[in-house]
């Protein structure tokens, strides 16, 4: 009932539809142009992929490239395993921080969320050295570990804020019911944090899925390429195969889009549940 007195409901819809068009138009252009030849893209960027304009060459070069399923698999593996680790380890740490008082607890809490502020990219050289020393160069494990480290601070921050707002009595109740601290975490806390899992997942997933930097440095090998890195083969020094780039990236949007739609409802509920309050 906020601005209804000023703007009729139709007015609100008009504004939202206008902004939605602004959000969708470039997206539509991406998809439209992914079905066109390079020449058609530039000759007529807004034209629909019909008649002469139509070309599935982009998709052909992506889908017929036998490596792309592998790249997709790699991206999915890295993203999913990292997500699970971020969610599990983040929730464990957040549980410890919000549930127990122990010496240095607030210091450790501060330490663990410090990473929100600093991009790990700043430490690339030392990180690569470390990965090599551990014998993890050119493995998906390297990426998973780095993304987990990168995603943990925000996850811990959101989970801790949320768990602090949840009544402690339920855990006490479980203790009286005879559950060990570990089982309390898995049987009581995990179901409790379910509303914010979506929030954490969406915030962590996007940068992992779209990252180009760490695959390039840590795991550029043929076997471990991710989609974003795989797309780079279409970007030459002087010639760029834009049709293929757009096709590959259009396809690459799908998994995140699906995950987002799955999480979307929970996302708002999670934020609303007090997870991300000041």
């Amino acid at each position: 009932m906020l601005i209804t007195q000023r703007l009729s409901s139709a007015g609100i819809h008009a504004v939202l539809i206008a902004y939605s068009l602004l959000a969708l138009f470039p997206l539509a252009l991406i998809v439209i142009n992914s079905f066109k030849s390079k020449k058609a893209i530039f000759r007529d960027p807004t034209g629909l992929p019909l008649g002469d304009n139509f070309s599935s060459k982009g998709y052909d070069s992506v889908l017929n490239n036998s490596d792309f399923p592998l790249y997709f698999g790699n991206s999915l593996t890295v993203t999913c395993v990292s997500l699970v680790l971020i969610l599990l380890l983040g929730a464990m740490a957040a549980h410890a921080l919000s549930e127990y008082r122990f010496p240095g607890d607030s210091l450790i809490g501060l330490y663990l969320i410090l990473g929100i502020m600093v991009p790990i990219r700043l430490g690339t050289v030392a990180l690569l050295q470390l990965i090599v020393d551990l014998g993890l160069a050119n493995t998906l494990t390297a990426l998973i570990l780095v993304y987990t480290a990168q995603g943990l601070p925000i996850a811990i921050f959101i989970f801790t804020e949320f768990l602090r707002s949840v009544s402690k009595e339920i855990k006490d109740s479980a203790r009286i019911d005879g559950l060990s601290e570990y089982r309390i975490f898995f049987e009581v806390v995990i179901p409790l944090v379910r509303p914010v899992i979506a929030t954490v997942a969406v915030f962590s997933m996007i940068p992992i899925w779209n990252d180009l930097w760490f695959p390039l440095i840590l795991s550029p090998g043929e076997e471990t390429r991710t989609v974003t890195l795989g797309v780079q083969q279409f970007i030459g020094q002087y010639t760029v195969n834009w049709g293929a780039v757009l096709a590959a990236l259009s396809v690459a949007i799908l998994p995140v889009l699906v995950m987002y739609i799955i999480f979307s409802k929970q996302l708002i509920r999670g934020i609303t549940a007090g997870a991300v309050k000041g």
Partner: protein, 312 residues
């Protein structure tokens, strides 16, 4: 009662706390903190014939004194500040306005709008950079045709290529992509404003507009603060990807879109003819770290405290 009868009341060591904390702390320390600390350490060294020698804060002195470095540093810093201000003054008000509209309880299809408005956030910068360059290009006619259609074609300029407008244009693209995040946070905060408070305000005779300004806005101030600090951090860390993919490593024209991120990238890894310098790179990285730290500290100890008074 004899003392000897009493068992000691010292609590047994609570290993489970360690078990819960250790995995996250270990991975985070090894793969995030250690590499960054290593960078901080490198900033105290300089390369010479026999490897590198400890130089204390000499690199920092160079960064802010030697004209070559200082010019780039302050230019990038200035652009970052501008970027931050523009995000605060454009992105966040747009996000707030959209969130306010979305949170109108009688609105139909809010979920659809929400999904659409968040979509750009899911995209990778490679494709965002490409598509906006295509749209704004003076050559391929998307924007010029649109503006001609509206009858304002003569106002078209190659915005991305002009020193006066490149930074603003990049900022607007960034806003287009990332407005979804503050939008979600504001939206959630607005949903949390109790209906009774609003009803009370209506009984006090406030209309919708004033209810928003006088009641809802103060109540969601904490999330305004959070969005502010997230904008601040993102402005220093995430701005790199977009600017690099649209304007390239030299952040043209004439460094007018250069930010700390692109400056750092060039310094650390080198760029074309420029050779990489890990030590100066580490110095820029550390300077960036301290700038972010100062901002966050100001937020935590100044802004947040004041804001939270509204919570109760």
């Amino acid at each position: 009662m004899a003392n000897t009868e009493r068992p000691t009341h010292r609590r047994p060591i609570r290993w489970y706390i360690l078990v819960f904390l250790a995995p996250a702390t270990l991975i985070y320390t090894i793969f995030a903190i250690y590499p960054i600390l290593e960078s901080l350490r490198l900033s105290l060294f300089q390369a010479n014939e026999n490897g590198a020698t400890f130089e204390g804060l000499a690199n920092y002195a160079r960064l802010i004194q030697e004209p070559y470095w200082a010019e780039q540093f302050w230019n990038a810093f200035k652009n970052n500040v501008l970027l931050f201000l523009m995000h605060m003054l454009i992105q966040n008000p747009i996000a707030l306005a959209l969130a306010a509209l979305l949170s109108v309880p009688t609105l139909k299809g809010a979920a659809v709008y929400r999904t659409i408005l968040f979509l750009p956030t899911l995209l990778s910068v490679v494709v965002v950079g490409f598509i906006w360059q295509l749209i704004l290009s003076p050559l391929w006619g998307v924007t010029p045709a649109f503006m001609n259609f509206l009858g304002v074609g003569s106002f078209f300029k190659p915005w991305l290529g002009l020193e006066s407008s490149a930074l603003v244009t990049v900022t607007l693209i960034s806003i287009w992509q990332y407005v979804g995040i503050p939008l979600m946070l504001f939206y959630a905060a607005l949903l949390n404003v109790p209906e009774e408070t609003i009803e009370a305000a209506r009984i006090d005779g406030l209309n919708g507009w004033w209810i928003f300004w006088k009641v809802k806005l103060p109540l969601i101030l904490p999330s305004l603060g959070l969005v502010g600090i997230l904008t601040y951090i993102g402005n220093f860390t995430a701005s790199f990807d977009l600017i690099y993919s649209i304007q390239g490593g030299l952040a043209g024209p004439d460094y007018s879109t250069d930010v700390m991120g692109t400056f750092l990238f060039r310094t650390f890894f080198g760029f074309q003819a420029q050779l990489g310098d890990v030590y100066m790179g580490a110095t820029v990285a550390s300077a960036l770290f301290f700038i972010i730290l100062i901002g966050v500290a100001l937020y935590l100890f100044g802004v947040q405290r004041r804001l939270q008074r509204y919570e109760s």
